[in-house]
């Protein structure tokens, strides 16, 4: 593997040409956000910890600073710091088999450890179980630890179509959520403000969807590893103007890349779909491996979770409620299979790599069946690799790399076409 130092002048130039420039703007945005959030600790601003799939728009409309332990977990994972945080939780009796985001977060709450010295103390918590049921157990623990109130936005699992009573339950909880925020912040609900925030959130999410769609183009202007990083603002800050601005800039950059034929890889021979949360501590190595194999991860099931569709601006509360209920992890396997199949067709992939993520049961259980179903529907092969999103103690690099190599090298032979 060559390092930057060995690169010739032309190679360097080419690398610079292919680099995504908006990365800098994003880092600035996120740094500013974390600095502000940390500075708010101990002031009279409210800080809420919220799950990644939770409805954040009401918080923004009430001027509450939202903080995302999962995003922080990813950061700790990428910085190779989550294992030590997990160990803190384990020494306090939390099983090693629990989700490593949760363990790391509990560890960081206790020690203020991690790359940014821990998250600012919450004044309350918001938990939405549309991504898993782990989160409410985790947030119950946080609520006991910090002695702060917990609001649970309960989104029962959706089998088939969303039923009327299901929608009704979500809408009533949205209303309850608003009253909860009124009580806690002492402010009155401002409908106009909320509509504005919701509109910005939706707009940002549609921009994000368009950014991701740019990868339908060949060669792809980015890989999903880039998307994993570039999605931070849509997860944490959607509903604000800065985020809209950021994704406008990013979209413009992506479109220019397409126009100028700039792909993210020097050469793109294979196009792959990624399933599940990234292996955060291994992004760099895997990125290198895929580049070497000329395989581009053009789409994934994870980043598209923040692309909202079908919103009725006239009735934002109700449509938000429905959207939050029907996210990718909260639907049955058949509906998931449809989504993967459509991603595979839209992005014209040669195969799929599934990360069987020890931490995340709703994402990982069922993958074996989904893999078979995927191949049945598309004729394309799948590879399942075993890992954990932030606990590297479960990861066997040489084994995973060998399997990926074998898989990609066999791709041309295996594709049977649809």
């Amino acid at each position: 593997m060559s390092t930057d130092a060995d690169l010739s002048g032309r190679e360097k130039e080419d690398k610079e040409r292919r680099r995504i420039k908006s990365g800098g703007a994003m880092r600035e945005l996120m740094t500013k956000y974390y600095l502000e959030a940390k500075a708010a600790e101990g002031t009279d601003r409210h800080i809420a910890w919220i799950t990644s799939g939770g409805p954040v728009e009401p918080l923004i409309a009430f001027d509450v600073i939202p903080v995302y332990p999962e995003n922080h977990g990813a950061m700790c994972g990428a910085a190779h710091m989550n294992v030590e945080l997990c160990e803190v939780a384990e020494s306090r009796g939390f099983s090693r088999d629990l989700c490593s985001y949760a363990r790391g977060d509990i560890g960081s709450a206790v020690t203020k450890g991690g790359p940014i010295g821990g998250l600012p103390r919450p004044t309350f918590l918001v938990c939405c179980n549309n991504i898993c049921n782990t989160v409410f157990k985790w947030y119950e623990e946080l609520s006991r630890f910090f002695e702060v109130p917990l609001f649970i936005f309960d989104t029962p699992f959706v089998r088939g179509e969303l039923s009327f009573h299901h929608k009704d339950y979500s809408v009533r909880q949205m209303e309850e959520y608003i009253s909860f925020l009124e009580r806690i912040t002492g402010k009155e609900y401002d409908e106009a403000r909320f509509v504005d925030v919701a509109a910005k959130s939706l707009y940002a999410s549609s921009l994000w969807a368009q950014v991701l769609a740019c990868n339908e183009h060949k060669p792809a202007p980015m890989t999903c590893f880039d998307a994993f990083i570039l999605m931070a603002p849509i997860v944490t800050l959607r509903g604000t103007q800065e985020v809209v601005d950021f994704y406008q800039g990013l979209l413009k950059e992506m479109r220019e890349r397409i126009e100028r034929g700039i792909g993210i890889l020097p050469s793109e021979r294979y196009r792959l779909l990624w399933d599940n949360i990234p292996v955060w501590y291994e992004m760099r190595n895997l990125g290198r491996l895929f580049t070497e194999l000329e395989a581009c991860l053009v789409a994934d099931t994870y980043t598209s979770a923040w692309t909202f569709e079908g919103v009725d601006v006239e009735d934002p509360l109700a449509s938000m409620a429905a959207i939050y209920t029907e996210v990718y992890l909260n639907i049955n396997l058949e509906r998931m299979a449809e989504k993967i199949e459509s991603l595979a067709r839209r992005f014209d992939v040669d195969g799929m790599i599934m990360h069987s993520n020890r931490s995340c049961k709703p994402y990982s259980l069922g993958q074996y069946d989904l893999a078979k179903e995927f191949t049945r529907r598309t004729g394309k092969p799948t590879l399942i690799i075993e890992a954990d999103h932030t606990d590297s103690r479960w990861y066997n690099r040489s084994e995973v790399e060998t399997r990926i190599r074998d898989f990609v090298e066999n791709l041309l032979g295996e594709s049977v076409g649809v």
Partner: protein, 377 residues
């Protein structure tokens, strides 16, 4: 039949319940499997089906590994394995109540890979005991009733449902009576026997179980036995697939005087209201009954309840018996242990079970050490 013979039979079924399935079939019953104590069994019962509870098995996995990763609880893995191996042919189908993430996915995997005629799904809210979730729960109970009706191809009348509610309420009263007896006169019936009498009910029609409980309770209530000196313990967790834990404790001079188990006390807690519309009654019961850690209950704190239970039965230690990889239970452990220790000075032991690698020897060693610490020897 003598009381002890009856209890021995119950124990035998607990040890190897799956052979009961074909027996039920031969008797003309139509068994439907359920996994979770939130299942409104009354609806199945009223439709003429016989709910039986799959509780995992100590076995080597042969088929389920193609569908479930090894980091999934052994109950899901071994139950699926039996189904895929064709060992559950006598079943008409199964009911999946969505409590944890594993069960929610297992439902799809089971439906897609087994060929049972009936597949029932009941989606639960996690917010129990709060006004806001009750209407959702009532609708889900209604939807479940419709699924069952569609399968048996006839309506389940309100009258039939009311009758089933009465049968199950009677069952709960009798189970409670037996448990009270065991708490008050542990020398007359020990934890192993009492739990066996309860667990056996998962493998027979409810009326037959009521007969058994009634006879055992009546016989034992009049018995005056000599007091025995056993260390009183409480067991908390999900399901005990085998009686091993209880047996070992007895062998080691301890006894389970009460439990917080899903196949024990939590199973029969709270009655369904016989005076309101049956669907409302069933929903309300689930909503207010003692909480499972897979749910969020506002009416009562789980730790409070456990502390209270420990004090009431005089247990001097708590054994947490869990399935490996079971997130809902594992999350609660540090908190429950801390409160037990700090507020009551009651020590606890955590045992995790993976049925595929069940080791009685190891279990024994750990239990023995725990008992010795409490006894101070």
């Amino acid at each position: 039949m003598g009381t002890q013979t009856m209890i021995d039979e119950c124990l035998e079924i607990w040890r190897d319940p799956y052979k009961e399935l074909s027996r039920l079939r031969e008797q003309g019953e139509r068994p439907v499997a359920f996994f979770c104590s939130y299942t409104p069994e009354e609806i199945l019962h009223a439709a003429g089906l016989t709910p039986v509870r799959l509780m995992g098995a100590a076995r080597t996995i042969g088929h389920a590994d193609a569908h479930l990763q090894a980091y999934c609880c052994s109950l899901a893995r071994t139950d699926l394995d039996m189904a895929l191996a064709g060992e559950l042919e006598s079943l008409e189908g199964a009911v999946f109540v969505q409590t944890c993430d594993t069960m929610m996915r297992l439902s799809d995997i089971w439906r897609r890979n087994t060929g049972f005629p009936f597949h029932g799904d009941l989606v639960l809210p996690i917010r129990m005991g709060e006004e806001i979730s009750l209407p959702f729960l009532v609708e889900e109970v209604h939807r479940f009733r419709e699924q069952v009706e569609a399968f048996v191809r006839h309506e389940i009348s309100d009258e039939a449902l009311r009758e089933s509610i009465r049968v199950y309420n009677r069952n709960r009263r009798l189970a409670d009576r037996l448990y009270r007896l065991r708490r008050e006169k542990p020398h007359v019936i020990d934890g192993l026997s009492a739990t066996a009498c309860l667990v056996v009910g998962f493998w027979m029609p409810r009326q037959a179980h009521n007969e058994i409980l009634q006879r055992i309770a009546e016989n034992l209530e009049s018995v005056e036995a000599e007091e025995v000196d056993r260390l009183p313990l409480l067991v908390s967790g999900s399901i005990c697939t085998t009686p091993d834990l209880f047996e070992l404790l007895l062998e080691l001079g301890a006894d389970v005087v009460d439990d917080d188990l899903c196949c024990g006390h939590r199973y029969f807690d709270a009655f369904a209201d016989e005076t309101v519309a049956p669907e409302d009654a069933l929903a309300k019961r689930m909503w207010e009954r003692v909480n499972c850690p897979a749910k969020h209950q506002c009416l009562e704190d789980r730790a409070e309840r456990l502390l209270w239970q420990v004090q009431a039965c005089g247990a001097r230690g708590v054994v947490f018996y869990l399935q490996s990889f079971c997130e809902p239970h594992l999350f609660d452990i540090p908190y429950l242990r801390k409160r037990l220790q700090e507020e009551l000075g009651v020590p606890s032991l955590v045992l995790e079970s993976e049925l595929q690698s069940f080791s009685r020897g190891q279990l024994r060693t750990r239990l023995q050490a725990f008992i010795e610490t409490i006894r101070g020897v």
